[in-house]
């Protein structure tokens, strides 16, 4: 088992390395640079200045050289400065990473808290009104465009009802748990609403599959109560495939967080990535993209380990 874990960690590092090259290349293939945009914003700027500033950023060097330079610094722990914030990259990324983890974590917990019981109930009564209603809601959630939903919520709660702050991560001078919570309500709510559907469907599907198994019929014949049957026997088996699906959902959750962060101006990783890529901020973009890839890869590993733990038939060699 330990060998398996170490092997997977090694593979993760390899993927990250490969990804770093690909991403650096992709960003390098993007045209132009924000420095060029400064020309129209400053009447005194000349093209000679633009060339000089680009040289200072190392943009006149060939891409491969820049990548090698970045890599060798990174391997020594120096990830450089963020050009759009004039701060060391880690200083920018760490608080935002926590913000995103908070957002994603809360969404996930609430989504699961809704999806699991609802999925179980739907699977227990296939074809009934409950099942159809739950299915309908799940599909509705999955089909609604997230950015549209976010904007509608913004209008309803911030403008018409005036109960929630329209944006930001926290208020100035009043940073506390209650304040943070208020700023999180709409982002978490919108993200949850669009992800709960998919979770619900998976749970229902897995539960249906589990409920078909012979051992359920046996347990029923033995007189096991309905509750214990559903939650004690079927759900435990259904969780196995569901857990692996959950790991795959992290990628989607992350992308959803990006949109939500943009609209609500919530300072998280998604927004950081978007701004860094748009602003040609290589250092920041590299670190944030690699970090998110790492998070997803590690959650895959966690899911595989959970799978092995949950299902005694599986062993890793």
């Amino acid at each position: 088992m330990t060998r398996f874990i170490l092997q997977r960690l090694a593979e993760t590092l390899l993927v990250l390395l490969l990804m770093s090259f690909v991403i650096y290349g992709l960003i390098g293939l993007m045209p132009g640079d924000p420095i060029d945009l400064m020309l129209t914003a400053d009447p005194k700027l000349t093209t000679a200045d633009v060339a000089r500033l680009k040289a200072l950023q190392g943009l006149d060097q060939p891409l491969v050289d820049r990548y090698v330079h970045w890599l060798s610094a990174a391997l020594q722990g120096d990830f450089g400065y963020s050009r759009s914030q004039s701060l060391p990259v880690w200083q920018v990324v760490v608080p935002r990473l926590w913000n995103t983890i908070l957002l994603m974590g809360l969404s996930l917990v609430i989504a699961l808290a809704i999806a699991i019981p609802a999925g179980v109930q739907a699977a227990a009564r296939p074809g009934s009104l409950t099942d159809n209603l739950i299915n309908l809601s799940a599909f509705a959630g999955m089909s609604v465009p997230l950015f549209w939903l976010a904007i509608l919520m913004l209008m309803l709660f911030s403008v018409h009802l005036r109960v929630l702050p329209a944006s930001g991560t926290f208020s100035v001078g009043a940073d506390g748990i209650a304040d943070r919570a208020r700023h999180l309500i709409m982002p978490v709510l919108s993200l949850t609403l669009v992800t709960v559907g998919a979770h619900l469907r998976y749970v229902r599907s897995a539960m249906t599959e589990a409920l078909r198994q012979d051992f359920i019929r046996t347990a029923q014949a033995k007189g096991v109560s309905r509750g214990r049957l559903l939650y004690g026997h079927a759900l435990r088996n259904a969780m196995i495939p569901f857990v692996t699906v959950l790991a795959l959902e992290f990628g989607t959750l992350f992308s959803g967080a990006l949109i939500v962060e943009q609209i609500f101006a919530y300072l998280g990783m998604g927004k950081t990535i978007y701004d860094a890529v748009a602003g040609n901020d290589y250092n920041l973009a590299m670190v944030s993209l690699l970090l998110s890839t790492a998070v997803v890869l590690l959650s895959n590993l966690a899911a595989d380990l959970a799978y092995a733990w949950l299902d005694p038939r599986i062993t890793y060699r």
Partner: protein, 573 residues
């Protein structure tokens, strides 16, 4: 179960209750802006959002005020030839001018070998926020940083023109510049840095200065700020909090605290304003003009909306290498065929005045005595016929060889207002037989490749920021056409060459007499309107959305922003 429910409700109540606290007497102003400065260093990275914030916390030596007059802020008296503080002098021996610089033909040729010495005195009570007085040591340090190629200073043209600076005493210094020009006493972009704090950051390695400067590593250090406010706290990417600066030597501000929140999404910005989390949307980096107009229609009882035309000159640059566009008559026809009045009326509520040349109506040099291009499709058609483009059976114009009159029209993708305008332009030009194809590109592609390397074949629609009494040397002078040979230097993207215009510009630059200069400016505008190197559209406007209780905010209309007079802002409930 009931208890959990109760706890939940109480928790929710606390959380939502935060929204309903009664407001105390107002002593702070929360401003919403759409951009967060990438750095607070005055001279690194040109960003209007940054100069907005710095207007609260620093003062330049000289600047243009709301009436577009040059005034002294950090200096005591504006140096002029009349009051003796400025002199024309010989350049040091061995001084060489850049190759390719032209000189006014009708002026005294000896002026080409002269420079100027301009003397300034720093305000006697000017002090950094930590109590250290502002002295000429800071001036010399700033000059040192500005001169250094590696320090990352964006606008180094200013420093390149300085030959040397003489220190006369702790508060007085003389700048020796390398040329005679009418703007000799304006050093608006010479923004002081605190030598006592920044020298250590500069250290031996100027290439790292950008990362080591205290403006990035320790922005709340009071010693960095000397305006009416100083930076009290900063949340990178989201807000900046400014508090009163006790060492400020000028008029004491009434508002104790200013918070600048960054909200990039304009709908969210509006929502924040309406919900009360921000009080005022800064015109300098706020809503677009049509959003502001729509906002005003809905909320004029609760908010005052002030519109101020600014020096963003929205225009169309044609590529004169295109045989059709190189013909003046075609350019004139293009402009006659546009109903710019209706356009600005319908789209911008009339707040963005039609431009006749690249000189703003608010500028003192502006004249109305130029050729005007009122909407006249008949005249446009006549001009095109005269130029050899005749209307064919398909509704489009062709020349004698059968080639159609067709261009590409490009602008920045994703900017709704521009896309709107483009589509109107396209249809109005179609009406006189010109086939215009719209092709937009993201701003970074457009500016870094297509425009700057003159890869566009037809027309490009964009804006540039100018300044009061700005000689359009880089955009209209024939030596400023970017080519591969000269490393793409210059901004004369149109490839407009006019000896008359060149000479006018050269002569204006060195003419110190205001009266004579005014004459030349009028001639330049007349030539511009006749030749149409670019097709002028309008000057953009900014919308300042203010609560009824905020007074004293005076938009300037140019890049030196209203915050430079923040101590005059008042809260009057």
């Amino acid at each position: 179960m009931v208890r959990t429910l109760l706890r939940l409700l109480i928790g929710l109540g606390i959380v939502l209750g935060g929204a309903g606290l009664p407001a105390a007497a107002r002593d702070q102003l929360i401003i919403g802006s759409t951009q967060f400065p990438s750095t607070l260093h005055p001279s690194i990275d040109s960003m209007l959002a940054k100069s907005y914030v710095l207007g609260f916390t620093q003062r330049p030596f000289t600047t243009y005020d709301q009436d577009w007059n040059l005034v002294c802020l950090l200096c005591t008296e504006l140096p002029t030839i009349e009051n003796g503080k400025a002199k024309i002098e010989d350049l040091p021996p061995g001084f060489k001018r850049d190759a390719g610089t032209t000189f006014c033909k009708s002026a005294d040729p000896t002026l080409a070998t002269k420079g100027m010495a301009v003397t300034y005195t720093i305000q006697p009570n000017a002090t950094w926020g930590d109590g250290t007085p502002i002295t000429t040591e800071d001036v010399m340090f700033t000059y040192e940083v500005g001169k250094n190629e590696k320090s990352g200073i964006t606008n180094s043209e200013l420093y390149r023109r300085i030959i040397k600076i003489d220190v006369l005493d702790k508060k007085t210094f003389t700048i020796h510049s390398d040329r005679v020009d009418f703007g000799y006493n304006g050093i608006n972009d010479f923004l002081l840095l605190p030598a006592h704090l920044e020298r250590a950051a500069l250290g031996d390695d100027p290439a790292q200065y950008r990362n080591r400067t205290l403006y990035s590593t320790d922005p709340t250090n009071p010693g960095l700020w000397f305006g009416p406010y100083r930076v009290a706290s900063i949340e990178p990417g989201s807000q900046i909090v400014l508090e009163e600066n006790p060492t400020w030597w000028g008029e004491k501000p009434q508002i104790k605290r200013i918070i600048i929140k960054t909200i990039e999404n304009t709908s969210a910005l509006e929502a924040n304003l309406l919900s009360g989390s921000i009080d005022y949307i800064a015109g300098e980096s706020g809503l677009s003009i049509d959003e502001a107009i729509a906002f005003e229609q809905r909320h004029k009882d609760a908010y005052d909306v002030l519109y101020k035309p600014v020096l963003f000159f929205e225009h169309i640059t044609p590529n004169h290498d295109n045989p059709a566009l190189g013909d003046k008559r075609v350019r004139q026809a293009l402009l006659y065929a546009l109903d710019r009045e209706v356009l600005t009326q319908q789209l911008f509520g009339g707040h963005q005045p039609v431009a006749d040349t690249d000189v703003s109506p608010l500028d003192w040099i502006h004249t109305d005595d130029v050729k005007k291009y009122r909407y006249d499709p008949a005249q446009a058609a006549a001009l095109l016929d005269a130029a050899g483009w005749t209307l064919g059976g398909d509704g489009l114009r062709h020349d004698a060889g059968g080639r159609p009159l067709a261009f590409e029209l490009m602008t920045t993708a994703g900017e709704r207002t521009r896309e709107l305008v483009e589509q109107v332009l396209q249809s109005q030009w179609k009406a006189i037989g010109i086939d215009v194809r719209i092709k937009n590109e993201p701003a970074r592609v457009l500016f870094s490749e297509t425009i700057s390397k003159r890869k566009f074949t037809g027309l490009t629609l964009f804006a540039w920021l100018t300044s009061p009494e700005n000689v359009p040397h880089t955009t209209l002078h024939s030596t400023m056409v970017p080519t591969e040979a000269n490393g793409w230097a210059g901004q004369n993207y149109a490839d407009y060459r006019s000896p008359e215009m060149d000479d006018l510009m050269d002569c204006i630059e060195i003419e110190l007499d205001r009266g004579k200069r005014e004459q030349m400016w009028h001639k330049l505008q007349a030539a511009y309107a006749e030749d149409l190197p670019d097709l002028p559209l309008y000057f953009r406007a900014q919308a300042f959305i203010m609560p009824k209780w905020l007074r004293g905010v005076r938009p300037t209309g140019h890049q030196y922003q209203s915050t430079l007079w923040a101590e005059q802002w008042r809260i009057q409930e």
